[in-house]
């Protein structure tokens, strides 16, 4: 049984980012293995104002059920709380979100009380360093309603012992043909999504703070791009879905990007977001369960 910490309230992210940034440059080693810990928030209600802000930031509708990607932002502060801790083997600053897989067992209503648990799993070698999965589960009334697995890459991190990450095939590409939509993504997209999601990683906020981390301009949150793609499929998504997103090149802000979709079944979709010059920012698949 993993040691479990039940959190009261949402962990504040600002201090944790700051602490992690300082910790990253302080001397002292990090453990080589994942903490055997699980963070839990019990009886979490949905703040409709927050839901509306998230929906507006991502172009989603307030249609009476939670968007497929919304539980991710509920679980995200718990992910950060785990990753910002010194017991975590990888330094939080510099972690890159490379993949996100969501299983939605059923639609969640905004009036439901949720139990959110997060733990880390599968620290493994990656061709460019080390990767780890942050696994979130959302339960309602004792029933598992949503799960998310966020894969983060630490570039150049010491390769952990043991087997390399099992490489699950990525969603297939959608290339060629006219786009189904062109998005003009404004420069403040990162700040808007940061407010709505709590993900205040400086690479998303401003060109200057992004430059400090080696990006020429601020970049969009991967989960914003993913949510925006879900919004583009409003009315066409299955009620119970598996959503798999692989993130590619950073989406520099502002930009104009193209969405391509391919229907793979009545409510099954493959989609890709790419720049006009062909840099792929995201590819994803939605499958009915």
């Amino acid at each position: 049984m993993a040691p479990t910490t039940v959190l009261v309230g949402v962990p504040a992210l600002g201090p944790r980012y700051a602490k992690a940034a300082i910790g990253a440059v302080l001397p002292g080693g990090r453990p080589r293995t994942l903490p055997d810990a699980q963070l839990i928030r019990e009886d979490v209600g949905i703040d409709l104002g927050h839901l509306a802000e998230y929906a507006r930031a991502c172009g989603l509708a307030l249609d009476g059920v939670l968007p497929l990607t919304y539980p991710h932002v509920l679980a995200f502060p718990l992910q950060i709380a785990l990753m910002a801790d010194r017991s975590f083997p990888l330094a939080l600053p510099g972690l890159v979100h490379v993949r996100n897989r969501i299983v939605a067992a059923r639609a969640i209503g905004p009036g439901e009380r949720l139990r959110i648990t997060v733990h880390a799993a599968d620290l493994a070698a990656h061709p460019r360093g080390a990767q780890v999965d942050l696994v979130a589960h959302v339960d309602a009334g004792g029933e598992r309603v949503w799960s998310g697995r966020s894969t983060y890459l630490a570039r150049g991190a010491p390769v952990p012992e043991g087997r390399p990450a099992a490489s699950e095939p990525e969603p297939s590409a959608v290339e060629g043909g006219p786009p189904s939509a062109v998005w003009r993504v404004p420069g403040d997209t990162g700040r808007r999504y940061a407010r709505a999601s709590g993900d205040i990683n400086p690479i998303h906020l401003h060109p200057l703070t992004a430059r400090a981390f080696g990006f020429p301009r601020a970049i969009a949150h991967g989960m914003w791009t993913a949510a925006r793609a879900v919004a583009a499929l409003q009315g066409r998504l299955p009620a119970t879905a598996e959503f798999d997103v692989a993130f590619g090149k950073p989406l520099l802000l502002p930009s104009t990007v193209e969405l391509r979709t391919r229907q793979a079944g009545p409510t099954d979709w493959d989609l890709a977001v790419a720049s006009r010059s062909g840099h792929e920012h995201l590819r994803a698949s939605v499958r009915a369960r």
Binding site: L48, G49, A52, E53, R56, A61, L62, D63, G64, G109, P110, G111, Q234, G235, P266
Partner: protein, 432 residues
């Protein structure tokens, strides 16, 4: 070309609970509410992926970016994207007029099914830039050179920054709807006590209808609301009598926040179809649309009150259908204000008015008040302008269906007054 007309069937309806402005749905747009209501209807009647003949809806307070509001809602819904849609707007008559348009196309055989209704938000209302600023920005957009742009910007004045917020006022009279209604109330000597009693009955009837499960298959919960937020089950004429008048002036002022409808957010839709379409889809027919009439009055320079057009529309509709005002089992008279309903009823009872203004030898007469708004109306439920027609059509169709199931054929009258001096009225029947 079809040669025979058929009666359009009302198959059912769906609405979200109505919310008071700037409360539960403060962050929801017209598009959000209309799409949620459409998806609720689709779920209730198993229409996912179905190509419907057309969807017709509208909003009174509408942002210019929502020019294709209804079509966009269809594209965001689970209906087939091959379902066409268009917007209509006739103030508070929007929802009922939309239903009439759809019913007429069904009657002519042009379509076999359709969805009609409307949505409105007083919370997420469009705010326009001051008209002077708007002209300046349009000119700026068209300017070709930097010097031309600077010259235009030099004309910017602080007062132009003040936005224009939509007002519930008539463009030609400058009076609010409540002020217009107060004039009509004074003209017909509508007393305070009878207005409060009508308002209390609306709350009582709506609460009772919820309690007996009447709305279980007409309303889908939304953003935490399961019942209309304005509903006060314990409202009584005594309590309402304590409120201070807000419209009219002096000792004759009788209209309060309790006997006037509040600003409200919400959406409502009805599903219509031919009998054959309903049978093919194994769906019930609640009632049929018999006929409809829209009247307009000159509330600017003429003698009629802003909200009195139904007084003229109903007698015309009765005559065309060979019916008397008393030939109805249910009357659904939209409660814009309690005084509006009471003035309408009083006008129909007045022999002089009938002779001089309606051109009738005898007045339409009085109605059995126990048949009026028996499941509550706008004073209790609230009144998101364009949504009210859909609420009333679905409510009346279900009332008629219940009555016809036990007591033989049933007939109902709908009367909705609207801004601009218009009134939309219709007859529904069940069991014949």
């Amino acid at each position: 070309m079809p040669t025979n007309v058929r009666r359009a069937a009302v198959i059912g309806g769906n609405r979200i609970p109505f919310a008071r402005a700037n409360a539960a749905y403060a962050r929801a747009s017209n598009s959000d509410m209309l799409t949620a209501t459409l998806d609720g209807l689709v779920a209730r009647f198993g229409l996912a992926g179905e190509r419907i003949g057309e969807v017709v809806a509208g909003a009174v307070l509408k942002h210019s970016r929502d020019f294709n509001l209804t079509r966009e809602a269809v594209l965001g819904s689970r209906l087939s994207p091959a379902t066409p849609a268009y917007d209509v707007q006739q103030a508070c008559g929007t929802g009922l007029e939309a239903a009439i348009l759809v019913a007429n196309k069904i009657a002519l055989g042009q379509i076999d099914s359709g969805i009609a209704g409307g949505v409105d938000t007083a919370s997420d209302a469009p705010i326009a830039v001051n008209d002077d600023l708007r002209r300046l920005l349009v000119a700026l957009n068209g300017a070709r050179s930097l010097s031309a742009r600077l010259k235009i910007l030099g004309g910017l004045r602080p007062g132009q920054i003040v936005p224009e917020i939509p007002r519930n006022a008539e463009p030609r009279t400058g009076l609010s709807m409540g002020e217009h209604a107060a004039i009509t109330a004074a003209e017909w000597s509508i007393g305070r006590a009878e207005q409060d009693e009508l308002a209390a009955a609306s709350h009582r009837n709506l609460a009772a209808a919820y309690d007996r499960g009447f709305f279980d298959d007409l309303v889908t919960p939304y953003l935490g609301l399961t019942r209309d937020a304005n509903l006060r089950p314990d409202a009584s004429a005594d309590k309402l009598a304590k409120l201070r008048p807000v419209f009219g002036s002096g000792p004759d002022a009788t209209m309060t926040a309790g006997n006037s409808t509040p600003l409200t957010d919400g959406a409502a839709l009805v599903l219509l179809g031919s009998d054959e379409w309903a049978a093919e889809h194994r769906l019930p027919v609640l009632a049929h649309v018999v006929d409809a009439e829209t009247a307009a009055v000159d509330h600017v320079h003429g003698r009629d009150g802003l909200l009195t057009a139904p007084v003229h529309a109903v007698p015309r509709l009765l005559e065309r259908n060979g019916l008397r005002l008393q030939d109805f089992d249910f009357y659904e008279i939209h409660e814009a204000f309690a005084s509006t309903v009471l003035a309408t009823l009083k006008a129909w009872e007045d022999p002089a008015f009938a002779k001089e203004r309606l051109g009738l030898d005898a007045p339409p007469g009085s109605i059995d008040r126990s048949r009026l708004n028996v499941a509550g109306s706008s004073l209790a439920a609230g009144h998101p302008f364009a949504a009210t027609g859909g609420r009333i059509v679905a409510t009346l169709a279900k009332l008629l269906h219940e009555k016809a199931a036990t007591g033989g054929p049933a007939r109902g009258l709908i009367s909705i007054c609207a801004a601009g001096g218009q009134g939309v009225v219709a007859i529904l029947e069940a069991g014949r």
